[in-house]
């Protein structure tokens, strides 16, 4: 780089540029916060959904599955599983684990109570109704 472009100029551009783009990011975040209620399905955020989210978290479901495409890629996407499988299948499936089929991927049994299963299903229903800009491309997730 030429000598007319000095280190202190580079430093000033760094500070100025970083601050500018961070403030822009904050501005976009504020705008997003105002836009979210129309998209995030928060009107259906019932106590049961909140409990269901906790069931999801304390059993580390994200350690194998993706939820809206984020998580581990070892087991199916669950953001739309409510639509794909329906509530009864989901509950029966969770209760039937592990399958014990030799050589197949195994899901542990988490010993969930009936209430926890209902909460989890409600959480998955709420998740499936978030406006995700039409992702995933098809029902298979």
């Amino acid at each position: 780089m030429s000598t007319t472009f000095t280190k202190s100029m580079a430093r000033n551009i760094f500070y100025g540029g970083s601050v500018f783009f961070f403030l822009l990011f904050i501005a976009l975040t504020v705008d997003t916060t105002y836009a979210l209620p129309k998209r995030d399905n928060s009107q259906n955020l019932t106590p049961s959904v909140e409990r269901g989210k906790k069931v999801w978290e304390v059993n580390n479901c994200i350690g194998c599955h993706t939820l809206l495409g984020e998580g581990a890629y070892f087991a199916p996407e669950l953001g739309n599983v409510y639509v794909r499988r329906g509530p009864e299948f989901i509950k029966a499936w969770i209760k039937a684990q592990p399958t014990g089929a030799p050589g197949r991927r195994q899901m542990p049994n988490f010993h969930l109570t009936d209430e926890e299963l209902d909460d989890l299903v409600n959480f998955l229903k709420y998740t499936s109704e978030i406006n995700t800009n039409k992702w995933p491309p098809n029902i298979e997730g």
Partner: protein
């Protein structure tokens, strides 16, 4: 060693390497579970192995960053560390907390761990990479603060260089953005939105400042190029990092419920994210070509060049592959993401920590460089690990492309598990190259024990 207190870096580096070994072993377990689904089940279910794999990575990189800081800052500041004693206390606290957390993952069901570690008080667990129990998270904050205090006090009482200021800024950002890990609203969209303030703003933001500072420090040392030149490069690179990377966070906001305009912001800015990595590569090669001295530590130079190249490939190129919204619509959350993640972390962060260790460890052991024989062994380790990582990435990319085609693009999409069976061959090949990576790591460990017949004078 110019300053006595730099010696505290040594245990940090040793711990980092030890945890690195653990990370790779658990990676191999998971890789095998991809094809032999019931391997080690129910003793180590996949989710537990993954938690250990990713958390060990984060913790050992943090050990590496801390060790690098303790080595670099006294030299840059031309003064002894503010408190070597505090540095050692922090070391043991962090190591014990890390070990207990991993043992907790392995020995106790996760839900039980959550119950006994205060998750009911404040629910922060069960989110990818932020699985640590509340008490561990609080511990991380305390360790980070005491570390920051120590480094900042050292910088304040000594010479202030661009390298130490950029490093300090990166470390401060690391601590500040980690605080968002305590924010976990019931609203899933908000949860995910701010989760990225930790994850993205760490690895595609402030960590790159730390990376740049470490790389610049080692390049000054091994090339002897004028500090003014190197620090100017450093500023330009991190400028590009932050002006592309901050708004680039938007590439995670396409499909999680955030407004559609993020597809534009995210695509445009994150498409520019390869630029700082490309500049880093040009920078490293440029400085080495313009070197003013022949430093006896050849392998440290190799690692420095390797950091540039592998970071550009993994973070830059493989990131760009799937960052544009119309493409990401099909690739989001597939093995392609895994491919990118592996090479990006290796190229950017694993490589820069190993660069620093390669440069600093011989000095900490009382010599300017290791014997040529030991260096050749370490070079073998570099090539084995780097090339096998390229192949791990290529095989996961293959798996990803087939997966995307069968499950997402096809007119008759197949179910997730049926597709997994179709791509098993790629997983087998990935596991094979994973074993080569482990061999490379073993060779790396051996390089520390190669007896030198002719010591290079310190």
């Amino acid at each position: 060693m110019q300053y006595k207190s730099q010696a505290v870096a040594k245990p940090y580096f040793i711990a980092a390497i030890g945890l690195f070994v653990g990370q790779i072993l658990f990676g191999l377990i998971m890789g095998l579970q991809y094809v032999i689904g019931d391997f080690l089940f129910p003793a180590i279910p996949f989710n537990v192995a993954r938690m250990v794999h990713t958390n060990l990575l984060i913790v050992w990189l943090l050990f590496g960053f801390m060790g690098a800081s303790y080595f670099l800052v006294p030299e840059e500041s031309e003064t002894e560390l503010y408190s070597p004693k505090l540095a050692m206390i922090t070391f043991w606290v962090f190591l014990v907390a890390g070990a207990l957390t991993v043992l907790g993952y392995l020995l106790v069901p996760y839900a039980t761990l959550a119950k006994f570690t205060g998750n009911d008080l404040l629910a922060t667990m069960g989110r990818e990479f932020l699985e640590q129990p509340l008490i561990t998270k609080v511990g991380i904050v305390i360790v980070a603060l005491s570390f920051l205090f120590n480094i900042a006090m050292t910088v304040l009482k000594g010479r202030k260089t661009a390298i130490s200021l950029v490093l300090l800024l990166g470390l401060l950002g690391l601590a500040v953005f980690f605080l968002f890990s305590f924010y976990n609203p019931a609203n899933l969209v908000k949860d995910k939105f701010y989760w990225w303030w930790v994850v993205h703003l760490w690895v595609e933001g402030v960590w790159e400042l730390i990376l740049g500072a470490i790389l610049a420090f080692v390049l000054i040392k091994v090339t002897g190029v004028d500090r003014e030149v190197i620090e100017k490069w450093l500023y330009v690179i991190i400028t590009m990092t932050l002006i592309t990377g901050i708004i680039g966070t938007g590439h995670h906001y396409y499909w999680i419920g955030a407004p559609e305009y993020w597809q534009w912001w995210g695509s445009i800015f994150s498409a520019l994210e390869p630029i700082p990595f490309f500049m880093m590569t040009v920078f490293a090669f440029n400085m080495v070509n313009r070197r003013r001295r022949e430093h006896p530590n050849k392998v440290a130079t190799l690692w420095a060049l390797g950091t540039g190249v592998m970071a550009f490939l993994g973070a830059g190129l493989w990131g760009f592959l799937h960052t544009l919204a119309p493409i990401n619509f099909y690739t989001h959350g597939t093995q392609l993401t895994a491919a990118h993640g592996h090479m990006a972390f290796y190229g950017a962060y694993v490589a820069v920590v190993l660069t620093m260790i390669s440069y600093a460890m011989p000095i900490l052991r009382g010599r300017a460089a290791n014997s040529p024989k030991a260096q050749v062994v370490e070079m073998w380790a570099f090539w084995l690990m780097s090339v096998s990582m390229v192949f791990i990435t290529l095989f996961l990319t293959g798996a990803g492309i087939v997966q995307i085609w069968l499950q997402r693009v096809s007119d008759t999409p197949m179910g997730f598990m049926a597709v997994q069976d179709q791509v098993a061959i790629f997983y087998w090949m990935r596991e094979g190259t994973g074993v080569v990576f482990l061999i490379g790591l073993i060779v790396y460990l051996c390089s520390f024990f190669v007896k030198s017949e002719s010591k290079v004078a310190a």
